[in-house]
Symmetry: D3
Subunit: 263 residues, 6 copies
């Protein structure tokens, strides 16, 4: 089987990020993983949700949506349905959790970062593109906060990116699946990793089959290749400000206290 | 008072339309009125709502939304609120009604055109940009239907565009108000017109003042100038296919039967 | 074509207002435009919505509903549907905006006027009857507030009434359309005007056709006749208290600040 | 303690019913129990809910609402809240169940009677006024159906009315409590009875106290007096058609099959 | 007709209560009336709803639900439907009202008792089992509060239990109907009584027939027998702490002030 | 650090399953993982959702909920909130997906298995207990279907169980975390595996830290131990019928076609 655009199995699609794509947010980016295109924005609100008030620490939360015709057939708008689907909730919880793992919430101070990931065109991998773009948008927003002298240091402790890997029906391990590949794959795994190649989140699912420990390991190997390349692109877009990431010495990791009872 | 970018009072902002901006819809366009940017798409569904079934005629309906951070301060997502605001409903009803006034629903046949207008950046005039862009997206979708031999003739009976006009607090009549001008204006009017300079919809509101018949007439004069210019841009984008608009001989206008009881 | 009850084209239906129709509200009226009957009430709440708190000014807001069997076929109750339709939202936003245009919100002080318009029988023109009746109910409530020494002056700056006009399919301009006329009309326009014949709101729609500038002007001429007559009826019902309307010297018009971002 | 308007303890308030109060429904009445006023209407729909289809029998269902300012302080509209309160649901289930007890659903045939009870002014006893008025509205609708030759016989098996009784804090048993009496009462009981003095529904509640078997019996005695008087008023309003009630020989009572699982 | 398990007409099913059935609530019980099984829990919250704040008195409220497959055919989950049915609301209002009739809310102090009744298996009588079990769970919670020295006296003024009675189609009066008996009964009545045999709530409904005063009295006689037996079981489960019930001298009964406007 | 009840790091809590715990469902079990207790039931519906109709294959779907007081502090009921939380949706999607991986939907035929997992007491691991118990309940339901001669063969292709593993803050890998351990853990991973030790789902999250590939491998090793033990317990409960699991020769795995667009 040959992949579209003659990609190798462990090769990403064309990755692009246009910084400051829209004018109002403190940070924004249009991220493309091939034909998948997501507008990611980071907005600063100078207060935190009730469960964190008065603790001197910040919060990062994310929302995710698709334009109705981002996909091959039109989806009913979630605002018309009057509710958010389970899939959307899963994705936005994942994006927020992943970002919080590389942001020192104490260093952020009592403010909230609202991340919005709006998919304008979908061709597989919308959640991984969203995480990767969201990281960049948040970095641009932090740069702005430091320029405005509201922050003295970048609260980011490391880089962060996400990629999908899978096992095709003929047993090949593929990196960054497009929609057709994803629909045909036996196993689908999303991996979120830091710039230090530490794992943040691993979600592997046998959609039409189970998978072995060996296949799992091979998928993680390939994911590492992709993550490293994505972080290179982030570094380019962020420019000099990239040097400030990870400078923060973190004594204790920030804990997701607000979700305690529900965990 | 001078306008931003040294515009004259009866001059539009920079108008741009990028056709086929996203790949899945049958027709799409990214329309800009200055810094206001809207993705308009037209999707074809091969059936009609229940109230029209079996009558051999089509339907056109529209939905409108803004990205949460299309504006200066972030808006709560309507899908999170679980309901669509009154403002959104007003706008999407207006877009659908306006488009139906220049589409021969009998000629369209039993299919629905779903128009989606998603504002990615807002600076005043989002509803007029949406109508103007939506007309173009629908034209591109009709071109596709004819190429696919699903339609033999373009069901559009005329061009259609929309523009805002207003009276500033110092009494000047302004065309195509940006957000700052709109916020400061005493009177605000949205005008939808056809290529034959016939009125389709007039909605004038004294937000901070009442207005006289004379002011109303002056506003309509200026609106006509803007509409004519917008239709030139549409003509450019649509290209040769523009020649097919209005060819349709319409014996009886299509009636908005489905809204009967509620009108 | 002859109109029902041998009305002339520029003649209203029989207009009646029964003041204090229900006993609990500070002001109430049962308004009839022919067979269209609406209970309008004005309730005083001694506080304002959050966006206005501490500014020393008041607010006026309106809600509109129909009994399920106010119409020829029964409508599903909006409380059963769990949501308010777009049409209802449009109408209640219009009623509130229109009333605010003739009420000095600074003179009102930090209190809210809740206007409820409940249609008990519908035969066309429910929104114009609602605005015209609501103005009267609010005047009665203000009279009560002054008697209770909570206000010293009437905050109303002018009279206000609303009427529909239209163009029939045979080209005649008609005043105050009943349901049958409205269903058959090519063009439908609602006009809200003050006692000084200034325009407050103009909403014209070509439901089955477009319309020319000339037709628009003819409709406005006829609307003025109707508005003047409606204000005579209001004056009768309000009695002596009518003298206090417009006494208020208004330096600056009250601005609809609360809707800023959404306008 | 003297009652308002010098009523005796076992005396009703002034009872009035204006038949055909609104023009569209098949049957309607404005019922007053003193200052409590309810518009009751009965609408015919020529089909039944899914759980009854194809069984040749009909259905009767009821909805109840209050105008926001029917009461001393304004209530939030249930359509704005997006849901119906528990109190409203209790009342509308009670009205429907009571009416079904005196209507032969087999004789009705496959059609639904939609009963709407809209309280325009409330002063205690809105649910009993609703049931009593609803019975009358339904009778008028049946008269219409027989005139239209859609029915040959009146499906009503008996008269039906409802009244409240209570025990005051000084131990007196009162008939037809107004709002002040109801608020001060220790015990509150709603009784629905037929023209043959059979019980259909008894709902007694010790709001601020418990009550003895003896008090319960005294309350039922007084309720019987009130019910008999209410049925006289119904008989007057219905006129000659009253003779057709109860003619129907009923072999087997109609069962509330549709609520089976939930009973 | 013989009853299942050879019960006499005035005999209860096997009644069981397992105290402290789940570990987290301050009080809990698994109550069985034959095959009907309900988990009742009482949770203490150290604050009251807004309408009671600052008055020094407490509140008791209840929620009721069934597992989807507590019944013979699976019910759709109310959380999936996005709303609570009318039947559920009726039952939870009844449970709360009944409990408040034997709890001195002043003696309780500014705290709320949340009662949860979750039916895990249903065979008729779920509401009466819920009230009877809820009383026990609340008593256990009060015992805990006294042990924790948050209360000095038990605020319960009397015992409380509930039972269903009915009239079968062959005219026999039955106690504690199971699902089959309930489905076949002509009349169905739920009775809530105190340890002093005073009535708290009587809800009788002719589901397929009306009923006479004589039948009503016979049903109340039989209900008294059942209530007395249920209170014996409660006394056993509560143990020594039962002695503290009713010690409280109550000058004035606590009034359900918060529901004033809605009563 | 010592674990509660002196457990070893790679030891499960006490695991119990009471089969046929409630009487109405085709299959049910009360599963306990220590103090975590979940009622799992499997209900058969003899039809499939619309997206599968006419394809001759079945469907398995799951719902998950907690009693309000299953936890240390009371949670608001999702039916009262009117919506299901993101966490609940994630869990119920996971349960359904996991079960479908070991059920041959073609062999099941056109029927739906509704799985309900209701947590009555929570102490960590509610989702893994739910999956493990749900598998057992479904097996019991299939046994019933075969006894009723609606199925000839068990459609289960393998056993299935789930367990949590984590890394404590002092770096130890723990099996089957209770609530306190889970709250304190740095990394949390849920693993779903088959009887053949193949992976079905892996969800690892660094809640307060990232994790290395090495730690991930150690967690999977320990999970395998737990899964094997859980399947022993399932085998005991299911009895002889366990022999029928995996007999089914599966040519092609059943595909989750219904979620296509959303995947």
């Amino acid at each position: 089987m040959t992949r579209a655009y003659e990609r190798l199995n462990d090769q990403l699609r064309v990755i692009e990020m246009i910084p400051n794509y829209i004018m109002h947010p403190e940070g924004s980016v249009l991220v493309s993983f091939g034909d998948t295109k997501v507008i990611c924005s980071a907005s600063i609100e100078e207060r935190v949700p009730p469960f964190l008030r008065g603790q001197g620490k910040g919060w990062v939360t994310a929302e995710y949506a698709m334009l109705p015709r981002a996909t091959g057939t039109r989806n009913v708008r979630e605002s018309s349905k009057g509710k958010v689907t389970g899939r959307t909730m899963e994705i936005q919880r994942l994006i927020g959790r992943a970002l919080r793992s590389v942001i020192d919430l104490d260093a952020l101070g009592e403010r909230t970062i609202w991340v919005d990931c709006d998919v304008i065109q979908a061709d597989g991998g919308t959640r991984t593109a969203s995480i990767t773009g969201a990281f960049t948008a948040v970095a641009l927003a932090f740069e702005q906060l430091i320029q405005d002298e509201k922050l003295t240091k970048n609260p980011m402790t490391d880089f962060l990116a996400a990629i999908s890997v899978g096992v095709s029906s003929d047993g090949e391990v593929l990196l960054d699946l497009d929609y057709n590949e994803d629909s045909a794959a036996d196993v689908d795994m999303n991996v979120v990793m830091t710039g230090s190649a530490e794992l943040v989140e691993v979600q592997g699912t046998g959609e039409e089959a189970t998978f072995s420990r060996k296949e799992m390991n091979r998928m993680l190997d390939v994911a590492e290749i992709g993550i490293a390349r994505l972080i290179e692109v982030q570094r380019d877009v962020i420019g000099e400000f990239a040097e400030t990431i990870g400078q923060q010495q973190v004594a204790a990791w920030s804990s997701a206290a607000g979700e305690g009872n529900e965990k």
